[in-house]
Amino acid sequence: MAKVLLEDWKEQYRDERIERMSRDEMSALQSERLVKQVKNVYEHVSFYKKKMDDLGVEPGDIKGIEDITKLPFTTKEDLRNNYPFGLLAVPKEKITRVQGTSGTTGKLTLASYTNKDVEVWGECVARGLTMAGLTAEDRLHICYGYGLFTGGLGLDFGARALGAMAIPMSSGNTKRQLMCMEDFGATAFACTPSYAMYLAEAAQEMGVIDRLQVKTSINGAEPWTDEMRKQIEDIFNINTFDIYGLCEITGPGVAMDCIHHKGLHVCEDHFYPEVLNPADHTPCADGETGELVFTTLSKEGMPLLRYRTKDLTSIDHSTCECGRTLPRIQKFTGRTDDMKVIRGVNVFPTQVETALLSMGGQVAPHYMLIVDRENNLDVLTVMVEVTEEYFSDEIRKMEALRERVGAVLKQALGVAVKVKLVEPKTIERSEGKAKRVIDNRNL
């Protein structure tokens, strides 16, 4: 219960040599690792040998990191086609762990790790936890799900690497979460931002906020807005940090933001980031938005070349105020997957969140977008929860509220929306990744 102000913040580094390495030294390190990795996958993964042969690229053509653009891409589709173990670069007996994502369209995406891969993963998360001000003395309450999903175990591996206490709560049972948070004296917690909001509401209702010792929360796995960050920070009186990752690359810990919140620092010594123009896949300049693409430079189990994440962001290679030279990717505007084109306008769920939070508590920042096609026209319906304070038994007032929400959303999205008011606390609070969009169109 003590948010640290920026001017009182003491920056600490887990691996100062890497995290503050000069660009030249980092490029040299990445070049060395890439050359080795390309040779490795060409020799051990038939999928990559074929892809490179088709493009007419040989391992010998890759002399340094600047040659990365000559390499083939890997897509989620490729992972599905080679499910479950088709992309391994080591014999299966060297794999000591698998993790996955629940594929929303059928088969899940499976990632395989060697012991060393898990070690690197934990180390990267530990860098992030250190960036968030945690030390071996902290107690980290983890309410990400434990299981195939990388959230719970990823944070757990990070806490272990740091020497902090991991409290493996997994998700669900909010009352019990808060009870344990209080009883065990957790100093930090990790969960999705939408679940952090839910915990905040529940903690207020139960009146336990003042008895909690938390000072930090780590919230990632779904896009969130600065407004939501502010709400979580204000309610708990804590500092919050964004963490990013995907199981194909390793899980959480691929990137994490520092106290300056000016983008998430990528562990580029292990995961080389490119931002590419979505139309022609040419590299974007720093500051330009494009699709984030990763190459795993040190991975043993399932190394990936130029994996297309479908996340949209921009990158900044300048040195951060925190002292780190690790490049920063901007908070996500969304995934190319989540983005909906409504009557020709690009709409991201996060824009809805920002707009609702700007209404000063008249509605809760929980929402669901439903896209339908009626008479060949896209219709976007936004389900919004009425807050108890603004609930009125007069339909006139409720309709006025509905119109205000509609006007704010139209302004923010640039497209007219139907607003459907729903009862407080009825939109599902996610314990993993929040599902924000239902698209009923047959596109």
């Binding site: 009425v386 339909i395 008011l421 009862e423």
Partner: protein, 147 residues
Amino acid sequence: MSISYTVQQLSVFLENRAGRLDDVLKVLSEGGVNIVALSLADTADYGMLRMIVSDPHKGRVVLKEAGITAMLTDVIAFRVAHATGSLSKAMHQLVEGEINIEYMYAFANGIDAAAVLKSDEPGRVVDILTGCGFTVYSADEAYSANV
């Protein structure tokens, strides 16, 4: 002790979902809260359930415990004789007094009927109605009407 003429109505926002009204009524029934009168207004997306109940505070608490948001709203209830034109007479007086009525509903009991109305000037409504001979329910009378 002065008598309160403002009756607390229990209002519930209901999404148009199958079984939602049933949920509310079941919770009230299990909580031992009797419904004296009710009105259900509907829009395309949601409904507004307004009720006079035996114990509005308790009604609100049991609903909240069941995760249903309810609020208490001040309304006026007055007796209307079973005679053609009685309600018209009351309404005429309120219009003369430039009272704005948000909504109204009625319920019958054995001897006569009662009308429940919501206005942003409840005090003046009570004055006008009693001034022209209508009997306004006290809160306690309203909660136990029809019992």
